[in-house]
Structure formats: structure tokens, C-alpha cells
């Protein structure tokens, strides 16, 4: 045997030879390696073969450093369970649901476009009318392009789907203009929010509905009903009081039952709620725009209800994250009336009021028919505005001016009342004089917010610093640069303006306002006094033993013979009762 190593058949043949030599050792070792593990039925020999095979076929770099992991992976691959029964079942990719929805949306838009095209071919002279019936959708893709240039915006995939979704909104719902407002994150899912103006017919319908539901006289009626109820309650409680006393007297004969002490009448709350601030009607003030929301492009857009001043007041006093479920409960103090959809609407109203900014002159007071109506009703202050056709743009230097004098607000300031138009609570003095007595002097100074198109230079400051930061988009390509503006007060609110005629603002964030140093919840109101202050409810020091002794000695009956313990105790009890 001149060969050092043998082929396998030779080795097997050689096993019969048990003399100690190299081949025998090899055979022994190989047999050992080929031992099958009882648990897995695998042997190290096969495993090594597989590992080496995998390494040689895949040729990963620096294999020696990750050899363990390779070995582990080979093992894992071997133990892939064999679902024979399910072999024929095709598992759809998880994207299926979303794709279905998107596909439906795309089909709808395509069919609509096709229809419009056909109509256009047939009656070209009716183009003008068509324009008036078709909603104007702000070009999100173009705006997003500029936002992206400035370092903000949405990813392209999201942006395109959203643009189509906005088109769908314009087709399906009675809206005249559509604009993308922003995105608000929730803990479970996010909200995309579209800002729209309703068509005139729909707006009229909603105003009629609003007036039916909320007649101006009704609020006062409720007001008056309240004191009556309170009085009734008082009477009721008095009655029960008498009853109790009466019962007590009737039971007097029963032994052991302690006589209930004569209780003072139950306290009645004297607090009266302040008159409710009327809601601004649809198409006016905070409810001028109608907001639609969906959590995925392609889903049905859901209309958010109009916001009430009360909701705005509470939203200002609380912080809360959106959950992503429109019907989620809102647990706050002070209590919030409504579900998350109302809360979302209130936050959107606040954000829209605070962060709608544009370069000076971008918008101008327009002259529409609606505006005159409003003027007649409510006086000035709620003028409509439209893009200024004569806007020429500002230079980048002006837009980036740290004083921000070239940027103005075009969101209406929401007053403390929760309205944009001040409502005079004393407007109907004749009926409600008594109610107002405790309110102070009847003429209340009207609240005034900054006017529309006030420059950002006059904004409130955060820690003595401007609430907006202006940045140029590019230092290298100066001719392509545009200005972006970022709000510090509402993190996530941004706006851009090119040196040309483009400008837009957007909000992407949690819907939380920056509060420095941090949020502190509203204190509970002071408890009301239940009873009038008098000796019965006043706090005073307990009499000491010495006092009681002195009292007892002073009041001792003149005849000394037997002491009357009952009397002394009686006095003591009375004193305790007074406490």
C-alpha cells in the first residue's frame, strides 16, 4: 500500500483490518463524524459538507469572521418545515389590500377623465361651464417638488397617491377647491388632511341645516330653563328634608334608634354656566374651510365636523396625541365634548390659524359674492381673500430677512372666545340684565386679534426669539434657491416661497404645540362654599379639658347633692356638634 489516502470503497474494505494505521484512524474519525444525532437525525459530516458547499458557492468575504453564523444559517435552512398540505395555497403579498384600494381609485379617476374627454369633444363650447363645475385641486406634486427642494415635503410615492386621492375627493364630494393641508401622525395610524371649500349649493344646504339645528333663540331658552330646574331641585330637596324630619319624628317611639340630627338644607349650587358662545356657521370664521381626512390614500375621505368655540377652548388647555381612530374617546380635563374627530378638527383649526403664512401680497382681499353676504350679517372682519393676480414675487434676500416682514399670516386669528369674529355676550341686554349683574360692567371690550395679513414680525415670541426660522434652500445653486419657513411654535409647520409666484404651506407632525417649559394641566377650580360662613361651619379650636372643667364648674347647679352626669354630657355634645 504505497497510497497514503484511500478512496472510500478501499477504506470500507480496510475497516476489516483493525491494525492501527493512518487509514484506520481516518475511518474511525469519519465514522464518528457520521454519527447521527438522535434528536435531529443529522450528522456533523453532512453539516460540514453543506457549510463548505455553501461557502464555496456563495463566496462571502471574510468568512472566517462569520463562520458561526454561516453554520447556524445552514442548520436553519435544513429545518424549514414542510407544509405539504399548504403547498398549493398561494399566499397573497401583504400589499394586496392597499393595492386593491389604490386600483379602485385609479380606475375611478381614469373613467372620470375619459368621460370628461368625451364630453369635451362633443360640446367644446360648454368648456366654461365645465370649469365652474369641476373642483380646483391644488397641484400637490408641484408644491411637493418645491418643498423637497427646500428640505421638506412628502416622499414621491406618497405624494403621487395622495394627489390622485385629492382628485377623487374633488370628484366624489361637493367641493369647489381642494388643497392638501398636511399629515398628522397618530399612535396607530396617521391622518392625511385635505382642506376644501364647499360648492355654493352644498354650503347653502349646510347653512340651512345649521340654522334649523341651532336656532339663535334656543341657547337662551336653555339658559332660562336652568335656573328653574335649579329651583325645582331646591324645592325637591327641601321636601325630602321635611320628609326625613317627619320620618324621624314618627320613629321616635322606636328605642335604640339614634335621632337623626336636624340637618340644615342641602346646599344648592349657585354657579351658573356662562352663556354658551355661539358656533360660527359653516362657511364662516373657523368653519370657513371644510376638512376631510383619510388614513391611507385611496380610502374614503371622511368629512370632519365643524368646530365649536367650546372645543377650541378645551383643546387649548390640553395636550393629547392622536390615536388614528376617529371615534376614539378623548379623555381630558376639562372634559372635551366629542370624539377624536372633533379634537382633530379643533387642532387643525388651531394649526391652520397659526401657521398659514404666505409672502406679502400673495393673497389679496377678493371680491366674491359670498363676501358681501357676510359683510351684511356680521360686519367687517371676515373678508374673503383670493390669490393676487398682480403678485410679482419677492427677492430671496427679502424672503430670508430675519425680521420676516415680507411674510404675512393668511390664517384668521382665533380669539380667546374660540371664534374669529368677536361675539358680544351682552348683545341682548334687555332680556338678560339680571344674569349679567355679577359679570361686571355690561359693556365688554371687544376682543381684537391681529388683522388678516399681519406680518410675522409681530408674532408672539418663543423665549424672546422669533417663532419662525427662515432658511434658504441652497448655498451652491443660488439661482435655484427658494426660501423655506419653519415654525418653532408648531413643530412640523413649514412654508416655502420661490422668488417667482409660488408659495404654499404644509403641516406634517404630531399636532402638538410647543409648550415651554412643559405642559401643566389646568388646576381644578376652587371648591364652592357649601354653606354661608357662620358659627356652625367655622373652624375653631376644640375646648380643652381645662375649659370644659371651668365651664362645668361655672354652670354647676346650686344644689350640690347628686351630680347629673346627663347634663354635663349634653353640653359636651352640643359643643361637639358646633364643630
Amino acid at each position: 500500500m504505497s497510497q497514503t489516502f484511500l478512496l472510500e470503497p478501499d477504506i470500507i474494505a480496510a475497516t476489516e483490518n483493525v491494525m492501527p494505521d493512518l487509514n484506520n484512524d481516518l475511518v474511525m474519525a469519519k465514522n464518528f463524524l457520521k454519527q447521527q444525532s438522535a434528536a435531529t437525525g443529522d450528522s456533523l459530516y453532512d453539516h460540514l459538507v453543506d457549510v463548505v458547499h455553501k461557502i464555496l458557492s456563495q463566496k462571502p468575504p471574510d468568512i472566517v469572521d462569520q463562520f458561526e453564523q454561516y453554520s447556524w444559517e445552514v442548520k436553519r435552512e435544513k429545518f424549514r418545515p414542510n407544509f405539504d398540505l399548504l403547498n398549493d395555497i398561494y399566499l397573497a403579498p401583504p400589499q394586496l389590500a392597499i393595492v386593491r384600494r389604490l386600483d379602485e381609485m385609479f380606475r375611478l379617476i381614469a373613467s372620470k377623465n375619459q368621460k370628461l374627454e368625451d364630453m369635451g369633444e362633443e360640446e367644446q363650447e360648454l368648456d366654461l361651464e365645465e370649469d365652474s363645475t369641476k373642483a380646483r385641486v391644488a397641484d400637490l406634486i408641484e408644491h411637493n417638488y418645491y418643498f423637497r427642494e427646500g428640505g421638506y415635503g412628502l416622499p414621491d410615492s406618497e405624494c403621487y397617491a395622495l394627489y390622485i386621492a385629492l382628485q377623487m375627493l374633488a370628484i366624489k364630494e361637493p367641493v369647489a377647491t381642494v388643497r392638501f393641508f398636511g399629515k398628522i401622525y397618530g399612535t396607530r395610524s396617521n391622518y392625511y388632511i385635505a382642506e376644501t371649500d364647499l360648492t355654493i349649493e352644498e354650503l347653502d344646504r349646510r347653512i340651512r341645516e345649521f340654522e334649523m339645528k341651532d336656532m339663535p333663540g334656543e341657547g337662551e331658552g336653555l339658559e332660562e330653563a336652568h335656573p328653574q330646574e335649579v329651583e325645582e331641585q331646591k324645592e325637591l330637596s327641601d321636601n325630602t328634608e321635611f320628609h326625613k324630619v317627619g320620618e324621624g319624628e314618627a320613629r321616635e317611639e322606636k328605642p335604640k334608634e339614634p335621632v337623626p340630627p336636624k340637618l340644615p338644607p342641602e346646599p344648592v349650587s349657585t354657579w351658573q354656566p356662562p352663556p354658551p358662545i355661539p358656533v360660527e356657521r359653516p362657511g364662516q370664521g373657523v368653519n370657513r374651510k371644510v376638512y376631510w381626512v383619510c388614513s391611507q390614500p385611496g380610502e374614503q375621505w371622511i368629512c370632519l365636523p365643524d368646530v365649536t368655540p367650546e372645543q377650541l377652548r378645551v383643546a387649548r388647555l390640553t395636550v393629547r396625541c392622536m390615536t388614528g381612530d376617529l371615534d376614539a374617546e378623548v379623555l381630558t380635563f376639562p372634559p372635551f365634548e366629542g370624539t377624536e374627530r372633533n379634537y382633530l378638527r379643533a387642532q387643525v383649526a388651531r394649526i391652520a390659524a397659526a401657521t398659514s403664512v404666505s409672502p406679502q401680497g400673495f393673497f389679496t382681499y377678493g371680491s366674491g359674492e359670498e363676501e358681501e353676504d357676510i359683510d351684511l350679517e356680521e360686519g367687517a372682519g371676515d373678508l374673503a381673500f383670493n390669490p393676487n393676480p398682480f403678485y410679482q414675487g419677492h427677492t430671496l434676500k427679502d424672503l430670508l430677512d430675519p425680521d420676516l416682514t415680507y411674510w404675512v399670516h393668511h390664517g384668521r386669528y382665533i380669539l380667546k372666545q374660540g371664534r374669529t369674529l368677536w361675539w358680544n355676550p351682552n348683545a341682548d341686554m334687555e332680556e338678560g340684565v339680571e344674569e349679567e349683574e355679577d359679570e361686571g360692567p355690561p359693556p365688554v371690550a371687544p376682543e381684537l386679534g391681529p388683522a388678516l395679513f399681519t406680518s410675522l414680525a409681530e408674532d408672539a415670541r418663543v423665549e424672546g426669539v422669533r417663532a419662525w426660522a427662515a432658511r434658504g434652500s441652497s448655498a451652491l445653486a443660488a439661482e435655484r434657491a427658494l426660501a423655506t419657513l419653519r415654525s418653532a411654535l408648531w413643530p412640523g409647520a413649514v412654508a416655502y416661497a420661490t422668488t417667482g409666484k409660488r408659495s404654499e404651506c404644509m403641516y406634517i407632525g404630531w399636532g402638538l404645540k410647543l409648550q415651554l417649559p412643559n405642559f401643566s394641566p389646568l388646576q381644578l377650580p376652587r371648591p364652592q362654599d357649601e354653606y354661608l360662613i357662620g358659627p356652625e361651619v367655622m373652624e375653631m379650636a376644640d375646648p380643652t379639658f381645662a375649659d370644659e372643667e371651668a365651664y362645668r364648674i361655672a354652670h354647676l347647679p346650686p344644689p350640690p347633692p347628686p351630680e347629673l352626669p346627663g347634663e354635663g354630657e349634653g353640653f359636651g355634645e352640643e359643643e361637639e356638634d358646633e364643630d
Partner: protein, 271 residues
């Protein structure tokens, strides 16, 4: 986020509306590659951006050997000069939490911090702090609480050295839905076996870090799967602006912080 992959990641990162622009990515890649060569880093990561009044700070992180212990943070405002951040002092870490004043953009600026918890005549009532120290302290605070990675992205070698896993293949879709699959990048604060004992498929080389499902209160991380379930996003409520993304079943993952450097103390009210 790995600086050399910013072009691929730019479509996935969206932090409160902020997205990476082409110019920013180009500037970052150029200057950070130079920084990497100068300092002989094995990895350079773009850490994020801190809003300041005059000029925003951009932060980068260089890794030499150990991916947890040997991290060096750099800052710049103009991409020309990257300054090494000093080691954060505990004093400044506490002070930076109570500073409400926004960053100015000037590292040499000295600011006064008033500790309102102390009495009027206390000598430590008013402290001076350089903005550079504050920056270092803030970043250290954020790193400790909100820097995260997916499970398996960092592995501990038998010699105790932690490295970025070169053969990382990403989480599977069911795994990506669990908060347990995401770990804090910091020296573990829990006992070494806490994480090992709470999972069945434990792995000594992966589960040596704290998982984020133990953070208090539960819900302080918002996990969402977007782009039809193919990308997992984690947003921190404590540090608004800290976002982690992971493309399911791919090695692409990273975090980025963009914000004003203030911790949100209102989290218990938010949930």
C-alpha cells in the same frame, strides 16, 4: 444612518415633514467621507440635525472599533469644519434638560441656566453653560434614550466587542411588528440576562442590549408599518423628531434625529 447610503434612504426618511435634499446629501457625503479618512473610522453615520436660530447644527457619528463604546460625535454648521463634541458631563446633561432657550447656532456662546428648583440665594441657582457643552449633553441624552437599532444589526463577538453586523438580513414582517425586536444602542442598563430570558429564540450575540418594549410608559414609542407594510417606522414621543426606519427583510435601517433638542416631558398626558 450610514452616510454612504443616504441616496437610497432619502425616500424613506420623513421626520415631521423634513426630507433630505440633494444638496444636503452631497455635502454630507463629501465632508463626512473626508472626516472618515482623517479619523480612520470604520463607519460614519449621519446622526441628525438640531434646529438653531442662526444656523442649524448637523451631527455625525464616527465608529472605530466597538460600535457602542467607541462612538465619537461631530458637529458642524457649515459642512466645512466638523468639530469633535466634548465628552458630556453629567452636570450639563441635567442642565440641558431644564434649558428652554433654543439653540443659537454659535458653539462658543455662553448661556445662563436658571435652576428654579433651588432657592434664590443658592450658589448653583444660576449656572453658565457653553453651547458646545449643551450640544454634547443634549446629544448624549438623546443617544441614551432614543438611539435604537433593529435586533441583529449590532452583534457582540465572543471577545465582547460589539460590531455592526455585516451579514444583517433584516427583520421578518411579524418580527417588525414587535417592539421587542428593537434595541437601545447604549451600554445595557438592565441585567445582562433580562432580554435573554424574555424571548424564546434568544441569541447571546444579539440580545445583549435593552429592548425598547421595557421603556416607560408603554406607548412612548410609536411603531407604524407604512408603504403597505414594507417599512417599519418608530417615532419617539419623548424626543419628537427621533425616527427610526427599517425596511422589512433588508439590511436597510437607520435612525435620524431632526428637532429642536428638547425632551418632551408631557408624554404621560399624550397617551
Amino acid at each position: 444612518m450610514n452616510v454612504h447610503k443616504l441616496w437610497e434612504y432619502r425616500e424613506y426618511v420623513n421626520i415631521n415633514g423634513m426630507m433630505l435634499t440633494s444638496e444636503l446629501i452631497s455635502l454630507l457625503q463629501n465632508s463626512l467621507t473626508l472626516l472618515q479618512i482623517e479619523n480612520h473610522f470604520t463607519h460614519v453615520q449621519y446622526w441628525g440635525q438640531l434646529y438653531a436660530i442662526d444656523a442649524d447644527y448637523h451631527i455625525a457619528c464616527g465608529i472605530t472599533g466597538d460600535a457602542i463604546a467607541d462612538r465619537k460625535y461631530f458637529y458642524t454648521t457649515d459642512f466645512k469644519f466638523w468639530g469633535l463634541l466634548p465628552k458630556p458631563k453629567r452636570k450639563y446633561k441635567l442642565l440641558s434638560l431644564i434649558t428652554t432657550f433654543p439653540f443659537r447656532g454659535d458653539p462658543a456662546l455662553k448661556i445662563k441656566v436658571l435652576d428654579e428648583a433651588l432657592e434664590d440665594n443658592h450658589p448653583d441657582k444660576c449656572r453658565l453653560m457653553k453651547e458646545e457643552s449643551r450640544l454634547a449633553a443634549t446629544i448624549s441624552n438623546i443617544s441614551d434614550e432614543a438611539e435604537i437599532c433593529a435586533r441583529g444589526q449590532l452583534i457582540q463577538q465572543p471577545d465582547g466587542c460589539v460590531v455592526i453586523n455585516p451579514n444583517y438580513y433584516g427583520l421578518t414582517a411579524p418580527e417588525a411588528k414587535l417592539l421587542k425586536s428593537y434595541l437601545h444602542i447604549r451600554q445595557p442598563q438592565q441585567r445582562w440576562n433580562t432580554n435573554l430570558l424574555t424571548r424564546q429564540d434568544y441569541n447571546y450575540s444579539m440580545d445583549f442590549l435593552d429592548s425598547i418594549d421595557q421603556d416607560i410608559p408603554s406607548g412612548c414609542w410609536s411603531l407604524s408599518l407604512e408603504k403597505s407594510g414594507s417599512v417599519a417606522y418608530l417615532r419617539s414621543l419623548y424626543w419628537p423628531g427621533m425616527t427610526f426606519f427599517h425596511k422589512v427583510r433588508t439590511p436597510d435601517a437607520g435612525f435620524l434625529y431632526v428637532g429642536n433638542g428638547r425632551k418632551n416631558m408631557d408624554v404621560p398626558f399624550l397617551l
